[in-house]
Symmetry: D2
Subunit: 350 residues, 4 copies
């Protein structure tokens, strides 16, 4: 009953197999190998256009490198105040970006609204050179609240951003979970909706450690080669990053894994609701947030359930955490089993 995070899971079987299969013979290092070349083509096919792809081992690296690439040091990135870049990356975007600024904005259900973004752009424009103006908008898909932007939402926000001269970044650590729920194609929710750069996540989805920075306009990607190397993120035995990603994408494996994770979340949500608990946000990906009485929390933990109780301030402006209630986050993954969900459900019922 491990619902602590999707990164408490291991490696999805096909991906581990791919590591073993690739472990034969010699290959040039630093991405100059056939597997990396093939993967680059695979990404272009996947996104229905020529893209530039840079593999890195962590989502923090993917986000920080992307944002540093889009934003000069004297500019700012608009993002949700609960986004991972804002709260959980120890200032990596600021570090890679030479001291750029993240502007955390409020938004219901973990999402930014057009009005909020429009107002922020208006505020963080002009007054040069005193103010740190906005140069990029970062959207998280799925969000930290487990909710989703629809393609039309993204298109609307991206239009506002582009009109204001901002580039659009998408943190897609849980991109697959979003896709399978939206029943949309990768292109549709990214560049066709106005996304300029995507942090394409595979680690939470089932890889050991593999993320891709995807530039939809390869013309602006060139210096990313140096950024990645200089950040210590260029693997020498690069083929082992490439084959993780290749196996993830092959035959819609990533979508199948995500569909399972989302399904487990749905089932968990159902059980929690059936037990009379309040779900805080719509369950659209693989995260479920519920308000738990403290004694139930103790009982679940004692029975071996693992999940995080988050800070209540995450709820500000969304729902009021009544006294004696905790905000609990349950995360499912490709490795969550029906048995575990059933055991957990049984605990709720008693």
């Amino acid at each position: 009953m491990n619902f602590a995070s999707d990164n408490t899971a291991g490696i999805a079987p096909d991906i581990l197999d791919a590591l073993a299969a690739a472990n034969t013979g010699f290959a040039l290092g630093y991405g100059n190998d056939p597997a990396t070349r093939a993967l680059e083509r695979q990404f272009s096919t996947l996104f229905e256009r020529e893209v530039a792809v840079f593999l890195v081992p962590t989502g923090t690296a993917a986000n920080a490198l992307s944002l540093a690439h889009l934003t000069p040091p004297w500019a700012s990135v608009l993002c949700h105040q609960q986004s991972h870049i804002m709260t959980d990356e120890c200032g990596a975007p600021e570090f890679f970006g030479g001291g750029l600024k993240l502007i955390g904005l409020p938004g219901e259900n973990g999402k930014l609204s057009p009005a909020t973004v429009e107002a922020a752009i208006a505020r963080y424009s002009g007054h040069r050179p005193h103010q740190v103006n906005a140069a990029a908008l970062s959207l998280t898909q799925a969000t930290e609240a487990g909710t989703l932007y629809r393609p039309a939402d993204i298109a609307g926000l991206a239009e506002i951003a582009h009109k204001g001269g901002l580039k659009v970044h998408m943190d897609g650590a849980r991109f697959a979970n979003a896709l399978v729920r939206l029943n949309a194609g990768p292109a549709e929710v990214t560049w066709k909706a106005g996304v300029d750069v995507l942090s394409f996540g595979a680690t939470k989805g089932g890889a050991m450690a593999a993320e891709a920075v995807v530039f939809f306009d390869p013309a602006i990607a060139d210096a990313m080669h140096e950024r990645r190397k200089r950040g210590g993120h260029l693997f020498s035995k690069h083929r082992f990053l490439a084959v993780q990603m290749e196996a993830f994408l092959r035959d819609d494996y990533w979508l199948r894994l995500a569909r399972h994770a989302n399904g487990m979340a749905d089932r968990l949500a159902e059980h929690l609701r059936a037990a009379g608990l309040t779900l805080v946000w719509p369950v659209e990906a693989n995260l479920v947030f519920a308000l738990l009485p403290e004694d139930l929390d103790r009982k679940l933990k004692a029975a071996g359930a693992s999940y995080y109780v988050r800070r209540a301030d995450m709820l500000a402006g969304n729902a009021a955490a009544a006294d004696g209630l905790l905000l609990a986050r349950f995360v499912t993954s490709f490795a969550t089993t029906e048995e575990d969900v059933a055991r957990f459900s049984a605990l709720l019922d008693r």
Copy 2:
């Protein structure tokens, strides 16, 4: 006949097996798992003292994080002018170190002499606050020239460094190759000789991607947690870094792998010498540098041998590359086979 680099090899079998063996159940992320805890104890045992260990996926990350930790942004690192940090890390130490300066010093056989280091410390001291003074000395073991510092060499240099107020870093990307040749213990060539922080390499030695920053004084290591995270180098599924390293160290596997690589280099060196070619530096680890006539180079390459021809300026002050001769670098690894060496040797003989 791939002698291009030790990173063209794949994953050593026991390490791949360890990845598979670890792929069971759930584990807390970010290093809060039992495998990481066990590895930390393993390192303290290995080095015969309490150490602080931080795993990262690349040698560039290990070096850059280490040097940034030892050196304030307004100070400098003394190193060999041909060291990897100086020539091949795209300014990672300068980036992580907030603009610190690397001072490249000359030295025969890829090594720094006490006189050179002493003079450099004298020069890069005082004249505050105008000059970028020296705060750290970085030694590479084995060096980029494939040569070694003896324990007494290290102790002598470290004493000079410490007397001048500098900390001592060792880039041990090929630390195992050095150890097996020196027939010395890990403690003996590091902290017992005065090394403060070690970049302990496993990737070139056989891991997929795993390096360790080892602090011999855990008291100064604390903020490295933040540095690593902020650099995007903290793995979420951290156990897969830990078990690579655990398998590398278990039952002297790392030393056996290195012994094989060194042995292959010795054999290669013998063949090159027997063919009448000049070896440029003593062969003490798994690198062999030879002066190759251009037509021999063409013949070897045509027959499928892979190796790098390096810039001739690496030879400055060491040996004169006669006209028509190239400086060729041959690197062996755990994966180099006797057959490959024999085939290569046969090409030389003809």
Copy 3:
């Protein structure tokens, strides 16, 4: 009728005279001159303890250098969301601090409350190494709203900060204006109340360009020599910074200049109030904020009055700007004349 800013004024007469008087003979550069030595003693006397002083030409430099000195790159500075460091320094603290983070907090009348600071410290503590924890608290005295912290306010906030392990910085660009109103001594409102580092402003008060970073614990100041030089802020003809400051401090000149500026602000406030206008915040220093009808604004501007109309969001949580009303900021200085205030008042009356 120039009320645009206290930096639209020129140089106070005694300070200009001091520049001329110092322009004789030769003096060693970079602060190694007798005038600088004397000034350092003068500061220690002024603050009733040994202090370390670093002169720089701008307030942005003083703030950014101070904050970078107190805060590691992976930590954050708590400050008011309307503070100058947050809104008007183009990310200088983030730049000098290697990517540190400013956390802007709300607070009535431009001031932070103990409850707000306490909650922020609780939030930005722990969760290592994911979160950017708080390492410093920056208070502005006088605030951007023209209000003041009482010595007891500062002591209370500093106690909370120190208990949480934070250092306390004071942005004293208008420190003199605060002092004369509080009728308190420099020591009383700084280190005796728990301030660790002060940006001591002279430029707005009457200097050409001179600010001092004052460390109340000289033991932590050492590397500031390098920070200042490396930031390009160490003057070669340093005596001309020192004598500006010396003249500013001599015979309470700075306090007399500030008293005049405050008095002009009081008078302006009186006239605005008498004209039936709403003053937004208490007038405690040399800034007056009033809600102006748009047609009055046009009339005043047409008659030659100069002042800024600020963004209305500065009012959030304080007072509601009614439709058709602008938030106008009037700043007085040592150079503001009674005639100008009278002329302005006459315009209001009509």
Copy 4:
């Protein structure tokens, strides 16, 4: 007899007068004043083309901002190994440049030769993304050795640089001293010869603290507004920077001041030569380097002469400092008097 540096002098009379004259009435801050606007036009006239000008108070700021603007963080600046940016700015270029690298090159008489620059560009090109490639060439005019590049020298070096894709920066801390000796116009030795950005010095020449970054292609200058502000180098009372520079340039005042300084250096050189001492480098600006016997050094110092004895390694590859000889540097300025030179000469004669 103060020959320690040109920055031990005070403010040239006309410049001090200009400060006083400008001290009237109010002016908008941050460069939005008429004096700044006028100065910008004056610079365009002076250089016979539209230029973009940014005033800052120190030469270190001017150099660091310029180089950071021309060079990405992962690239390098080629410069003389004895240049001020390399030895005396405490890493300011590296700091402002986000960790860029300075490559110090040798060169006779303090100057870089075409062959050296060509070889360095060849070396620091390619091998992406491992190596820190060259993006800018920085020339010092006059050099730290007191020597000059002829217009044809500059044109030759700039052509090599541009062909390699590098931009050309000139550190003109002593630009006036160079101009009057070369009998050339400002345009001729800068953009007409291929210089892209100039650090135009006035401080050593007679200002209190005023330098200008001059972009010969205003199209690339835009973000310098933010860089300067963010570096804490945008003066609020900006008119007092502008009028220093205006007075410096008016009626060739700067050239007259420089002509005097150079003349004093010539006379000093003559006396030293007449006393049988060896001059180390050609005396082309306002610096004289001589080899002094130690006892003469003691005698001169005892009699009140002030000058620096520099590190002997500055001589490497130029002339051998015989045992018992010191390398003494004498610097003259607009404030050096004929009487002082005569007194000094009399000491030599005895």
